[in-house]
């Protein structure tokens, strides 16, 4: 009975293993239609009662062929498509893509554009973390935080809407800088939001951080060691909760993150509770960055000199940024034409999802839900 399944490659539906009591192991399809798999993830669970013997993720239900589409679009035409990958952090996706192409073209976005980019990206990080917190808490059974976080996320979306007209898939940035100048009162709105959301983050923590049931449900659940994180390529808050101080904003600064003063929050245990604490601290650090950026936003152009027809020289580039979920990388191969020869995205959600199996093996069904939530995956990004 206690024999753990080493590999699930033989796992077939219908074929049942006998346990020593003669009862059967249960194979359950969790998803693709399930309230807690964050979209259309399908997890095949092998259960012994409530205990998870192994999992197998089936993905691809939201596959739209984003990378293939890129090969038939010009560089600027492909820009809005990246917003649809991680649709809760569209601004980060756009930033990564624009910077990658800029690197390929060897141009630099002007300082004012960089400041605007940092402000919007960090706002988006908060929005993404808020959405994660709400849904994660909902998965664990606390229904109230969801409405609190969505109420406050709304304020961020309002800023986005005022800035570029869209709330979710913003397409805020262009290759070479930003298309839109900040609107009248942008700075005031952002500052007001910072003052507004600071006590709200305390409010979320009040609901959860010391909540006995929350602590019991998250402490020691879905533990992943730093070594395992590195082996699996896991990045982002998951990695930092395991004690690795790795944040691309500090490690390989992009945009103008090197100008700002902020910390990388890390924790040691690598369990669900620590990942929660890391993300909560990250929201506060993002606020710190936004406050600094909005204070010293310089005057000047918002667009670099970019040719009308973007035709990068032959070559390839890999550029990665710290998206809310981890390292988001773009690998672009140019054959010198107006369309990329190949675009490959390194999505943090997809890579982090690999860790699911090792994190839940031997734990209970309820923990699978908690771990899927804590990995903070977005299926649009996993499947692309």
């Amino acid at each position: 009975m206690t024999e753990t399944v080493k590999s699930l490659s033989h796992l077939e539906l219908g074929e049942r293993d006998e346990t020593f009591l003669g009862s059967n192991e249960l194979i359950i399809n969790m998803g693709p239609q399930h309230p807690a798999t964050h979209g259309v993830l399908r997890v095949i669970l092998k259960l012994d009662g409530e205990k998870v013997l192994g999992t197998e993720c089936v993905i691809g239900y939201l596959h739209r062929g984003v990378e293939k589409i890129a090969e038939n679009r010009t560089y600027s035409m492909f820009n809005p498509y990246v917003d649809r990958m991680d649709y809760v952090a569209a601004v980060s996706n756009g930033l990564g893509y624009c910077e990658a192409v800029e690197k390929l073209l060897n141009i630099q976005a002007p300082p004012r554009a960089n400041h605007i980019r940092v402000i919007l990206t960090e706002l988006n990080r908060i929005a993404s973390h808020q959405l994660w917190l709400g849904t994660h808490a909902l998965d664990i059974g606390a229904i109230t935080p969801l409405f609190y976080t969505f109420r406050d996320r709304e304020e961020i979306l309002k800023v986005f809407e005022k800035y570029c007209g869209a709330r979710l898939t913003t397409h805020a940035f262009r290759i070479g800088g930003c298309l839109y100048e900040t609107y009248e009162g942008f700075e005031r709105d952002v500052k007001k939001f910072c003052d507004f959301v600071q006590p709200k983050i305390d409010e979320y923590e009040e609901l959860l951080t010391t909540n006995r049931i929350w602590v019991e449900r998250t402490k020691g659940v879905g533990v992943i060691s730093a070594a395992d994180c590195k082996a699996l390529g896991v990045t982002g808050p998951v990695l930092r909760a395991s004690g690795v101080k790795w944040d691309i904003r500090k490690a390989q600064p992009y945009a103008n993150y090197s100008e700002f003063d902020f910390e990388i929050p890390t924790r040691g245990a690598g369990d669900t509770y620590d990942r929660y604490m890391v993300r909560m601290a990250e929201m506060r650090q993002s606020l710190r960055i936004i406050r600094q950026a909005v204070e010293r936003i310089p005057e000047g152009p918002i667009m670099a000199k970019v040719p009308k027809v973007i035709k990068p020289p032959v070559g390839e580039i890999y550029h990665s940024i710290e998206a809310p979920k981890g390292e988001l990388g773009y690998f672009i191969v140019s054959d010198g034409s107006t369309q990329p020869y190949r675009v490959r995205v390194r999505p943090p959600s997809f890579v982090n999802l690999q860790a699911l199996d090792s994190m839940v093996r031997g734990q209970l069904v309820a923990d699978v839900i908690a771990v899927i939530g804590t990995l903070d995956i977005v299926l649009g990004e996993v499947d692309r």
Partner: protein, 425 residues
């Protein structure tokens, strides 16, 4: 015939006790209707209260402030297609919701809404209630099994384990309350009079004992009564599968748990059963620890004047509700579209006000106030249920077992032994 009917009115017994079938039938009917209305009201209240805890409005479209929403829901459920999975065990699948509903409703036979306001008074009342209410789990287990599907199966397994674990803690808490009916205690806890040594299991007897001893059992042998009430209050939430112990239907894990395959009217039976079970266990808690139909502050604020003041509460409550409804009607948008809704709300307020006024008439007032206090106390527990749901995350299965066996069971046992010791010392 008329004598048969009117003779009961002068007796001081329950219809069952007086052997009067006519009134017993009438009481059963009243309980059935009252319970259905309570469930409907509870549905609306839960959605509204939960919504306001979660910075939203809740139902607002069907009727003023969504007052007609539960009716719309019920109608929708009734006219839904009746689906039975092809692989299900047809008969068991059909019977399961009936068992749950029957168990939940039958318990109300012995619930004492007042000294005479119960269908009947059994000498094993509390035992009967515990026994029948735990039959409900049978329906849940059979529902999960008959669905022939994985999620319901896991849900029903969880629920059976959960019920067995929490029933024990619940039973221990109940026994300590029953002990209190016979033990008057002396020394620091003494009430002055020695107990007869004869306890009672009758629901009405338990409340009478609290009246005689001039204390609610929650405050007796402080803090033992309170701890027992606490153990019961936790166990009863687990017993009724409500948050944070709603594992059998854990939405985020098991989609809908044991009733995943149920829809339409069958599902609504489960819903009805769940809410009536909540009311049933709450009324046990009220009867055993919070003095049942007795009015609060009977010792502190005694005398005929205070009696009169407290007897005005039912009427005042309804007048307050009427005032709320009328105030809301006044605040409704002044638009042609809302005219019918505004009139409806005002009419509802007028009806409530009228009921409130009727409740001030002395004969009605005297008969109704027992029921009022009982229902008010149960309502507090129902509010707590909603509050828990808005506040707590869900326990995991092993943690649930841990709470049941390692915390509640020892606590319940300790309280029981301590009550027995304190009572005879």
């Amino acid at each position: 015939m008329l004598d048969y009917i009117t003779s009961y009115l002068h007796s001081n017994e329950t219809p069952g006790g007086a052997g009067n079938m006519f009134w017993a039938f009438l009481y059963i009917l009243a309980i059935f209707v009252g319970l259905s209305i309570a469930v409907i009201a509870m549905n609306w209240l839960e959605r509204k209260i939960l919504a306001h805890m979660q910075v939203r409005l809740g139902p607002m479209r069907v009727g003023p402030h969504g007052l007609l929403q539960p009716i719309a829901d019920a109608l929708k459920l009734l006219i839904k297609e009746d689906i039975m999975p092809a692989e299900a065990d047809q008969l068991v699948f059909w019977v399961a919701p009936l068992i749950t509903v029957l168990a939940a409703f039958t318990t109300f036979i012995v619930v004492p809404f007042g000294p005479t306001h119960a269908v009947t008074d059994m000498n094993i009342g509390i035992l009967f209630m515990l026994g029948v209410s735990s039959l409900g789990v049978l329906g849940i287990v059979t529902a999960g099994w008959a669905s022939n599907s994985h999620y319901p199966l896991i849900g029903s397994l969880r629920s059976s384990a959960q019920m067995v674990s929490y029933e024990i803690a619940m039973g221990l808490a109940v026994v300590s309350a029953v002990l209190m009916t016979s033990l008057h205690g002396s020394g620091i806890y003494g009430t002055g009079t020695a107990g007869s040594g004869i306890g009672t299991l009758s629901m009405i007897g338990i409340v009478n004992a609290q009246q005689e001893q001039q204390t609610w059992f929650a405050f007796k042998f402080f803090p033992l009564g309170l701890i027992a009430l606490f153990v019961f209050a936790v166990a009863m939430v687990a017993e009724t599968n409500r948050a944070p112990f709603d594992l059998p239907e854990a939405e985020s894990e098991l989609t809908a748990g044991f009733h995943t395959e149920y829809s339409g009217f069958r599902w609504s039976l489960f819903f009805l059963a769940e809410y009536s079970a909540m009311i049933a266990v709450s009324s046990i808690a009220v009867t055993l620890w919070l003095g049942g139909w007795l009015r609060p502050f009977a010792n502190l604020l005694s005398g005929p004047t205070w009696d009169l003041v407290f007897s005005a509460f039912p009427g005042l409550t309804f007048l307050g509700l009427a005032a709320m409804a009328l105030f809301s009607a006044k605040r409704m948008p002044k638009h042609r579209f809302f005219k019918i809704q505004t009139l409806g709300l005002a009419g509802f307020g007028a009806v409530l006000g009228l009921i409130g006024l009727i409740l001030f008439i002395p004969p009605v007032r005297d008969r109704i106030q027992d029921i009022y206090w009982f229902v008010a106390k149960v309502a507090v527990f129902m509010y707590l249920y909603i509050w828990y749901r808005g506040t707590f995350p869900r326990y995991r299965f092993d943690q649930l077992m841990q709470v049941g066996w390692k915390v509640l069971l020892p606590t319940g046992l300790a309280v029981l032994v301590a009550t027995a010791l304190v009572g005879v010392l």
